[in-house]
């Protein structure tokens, strides 16, 4: 996995009010005179540290709880075995067939359209959009996906940005089968990368590289250009920046809210009874490519992927609101999505998976303690 490095410039920009969530026992002392006992008693800070070692909200976001084994007795075990036979022996081959069929249809339409209609861009784009929606539907069918969409369907209007919570790469496919979004993604190696550069390019995709610090400005510019373009597909952004286990949401990155566009929240919730769709990229030791393949295979050998998608009310700039104030509402949008999908909010930046927290948080704790010491010193 990538080495842990402090990329403070990256993290500083997105950490509102984290102190509101962290325990602040150390400043609960009454305003009495400072005694030796007060300085020696480091128990509040120690308790916080031990509490974090025993259980912390960040790790909980990426924990994939294995389902309780229900096949543990003599009656249920044969049933489970039968289920395995059905899933691997019958469902899986059928699904592979469906998917292959889908690819054949897709490629036999897409390649001619892409090659022959080179001059007629508008028509070509419209057909490619329909075809991408088609192949995504085939993908969803190959997992026996049962997706319930709630709310008004997105329409392709300019100056729109869609934001959604992120659980797995399949979030994109589930949403794409309904509307051809343009999306911002990390470029992957292998066959996924090939798909990204050929097919997704047609609906409009923006690439970013998490590990490059300068990348942020370049990406922000590309996003703005895309949103302002009249002919582009609506943009879909996952502001968490990483996959979370569908029980929590981590902090949203502000970038999506600074584009001067209407923000339309989408909430996605998977039903775990059928399959746990969380793509636990932290567990994987191998390359992303292999693990995504494993993830897809796991989905294709499960009973079904059942999820709900809610298209929520678009957020516009209120009259008299500045762009900065509008961008500050990003946490409110996160709570709208979290409430709708029944997710708990945690105050951590998803990128802490890959790097250390900025020293600012520790410094604010130190500052509040220092101030209380100095204040109590003055007391008589």
């Amino acid at each position: 996995m990538s080495k842990l490095t402090t990329s403070s410039s990256e993290l500083d920009l997105d950490h509102p009010n984290i102190e509101d969530y962290l325990p602040s026992d150390s400043i609960q002392q009454p305003h009495a005179k400072l005694r030796l006992r007060d300085l020696l008693d480091i128990s509040p800070t120690l308790t916080e540290a031990a509490g974090a070692i025993v259980d912390d909200s960040f790790t909980r976001c990426f924990k994939s709880n294995p389902p309780e084994p229900w096949n543990w007795n003599i009656y249920l075990f044969p049933l489970w075995c039968l289920g395995v036979v059905v899933r691997y022996g019958i469902l899986f081959p059928v699904r592979v067939l469906v998917l292959t069929l889908g690819w054949i249809i897709f490629l036999s339409c897409y390649i001619p359209v892409h090659m022959l209609l080179k001059g007629h861009d508008k028509l070509r784009k419209r057909l490619e959009r329909v075809l991408v929606e088609l192949i995504c539907s085939f993908f969803v069918a190959s997992w026996t996906g049962v997706v319930k969409y709630h709310g008004p369907r997105p329409c392709a209007r300019p100056k729109q940005v869609f934001v959604a919570n992120h659980t797995s790469m399949i979030d994109f496919i589930v949403l794409e089968q309904m509307t051809a979004f343009a999306v911002i993604m990390q470029k992957h190696p292998g066959w996924v990368g090939l798909l990204q550069s050929t097919i997704l390019e047609s609906v409009g995709c923006i690439w970013f590289n998490r590990s490059e610090a300068k990348d942020r400005e370049i990406v922000a510019r590309k996003l703005r250009e895309h949103v302002e373009g009249t002919d582009n597909n609506p943009l879909l952004i996952f502001p968490e920046g990483t996959c979370v286990n569908n029980h929590y949401t981590v902090m949203f990155k502000k970038g999506a809210f600074e584009l001067g566009a209407t923000v339309c929240p989408i909430a996605i919730k998977y039903n775990k009874i059928f399959v746990d769709a969380f793509w636990n990229s932290r567990k994987q030791e191998f390359s992303i490519q292999t693990s995504f393949t494993t993830h897809l295979l796991q989905l294709m050998t499960s009973w079904a992927v059942v999820c709900d998608v809610w298209y929520l009310e678009p957020q516009n700039m209120k009259p008299g609101e500045t762009a900065i104030e509008f961008a500050e509402r990003f946490d409110m949008v996160r709570s709208i999505i979290s409430v709708r999908a029944g997710l708990k909010m945690v105050p951590w930046d998803g990128y802490l998976k890959y790097s250390r927290p900025s020293p600012k948080h520790r410094e604010s704790k130190q500052q509040s303690f220092a101030e209380s010491v100095l204040r109590r010193l003055e007391e008589k």
Partner: protein, 175 residues
Amino acid sequence: MGNTSSMLTQYDIEEVQEHCNNTFSQQEIVSLYQRFCQLDRNSGGFISADEFLSVPEFAVNPLSQRLFRMIDGLNFKEFVAFLSAFSSRATLQHKVEYIFKVYDSDGNGKVAFSDLLDVLRDLTGQFISEQQRELVLTQVLEEAGYKKDSILVLSDFMKILGNTGLKMEVEVPVD
């Protein structure tokens, strides 16, 4: 598949329980083991510095560096013993001893002015100047009847912290 307690036998649990003087129940030890395995991502049998620092709530704690020295490279038995001071069943003596150990970085049983200064520096960072810190410490030490060059031992800590309501408890989530 299945739960991780199958990796810990009853003997293991009892051994760990004995090592931590029965401050944790067997269920709590099982939960702690699950947590230990969760943190020990490369399954090396101990949690390295990197793995501890990957818990952001721990990494932002001002005393995390000091605690590091005490927890780096601990195996599971020692990990539980380390956390035993935070159990509700731990005695006040045990908790005060623990705090003493955090101050006594070289482990020689003596806490000097420099040790007190070090911990205060960790807790206050750059927000108090070094001179102010020394002044504050000297002042409270003298008020308590000690001198700047006094060496504090465990019994002093017991006297100072012993009759306070020392609240140092962490609940182990048991599912």
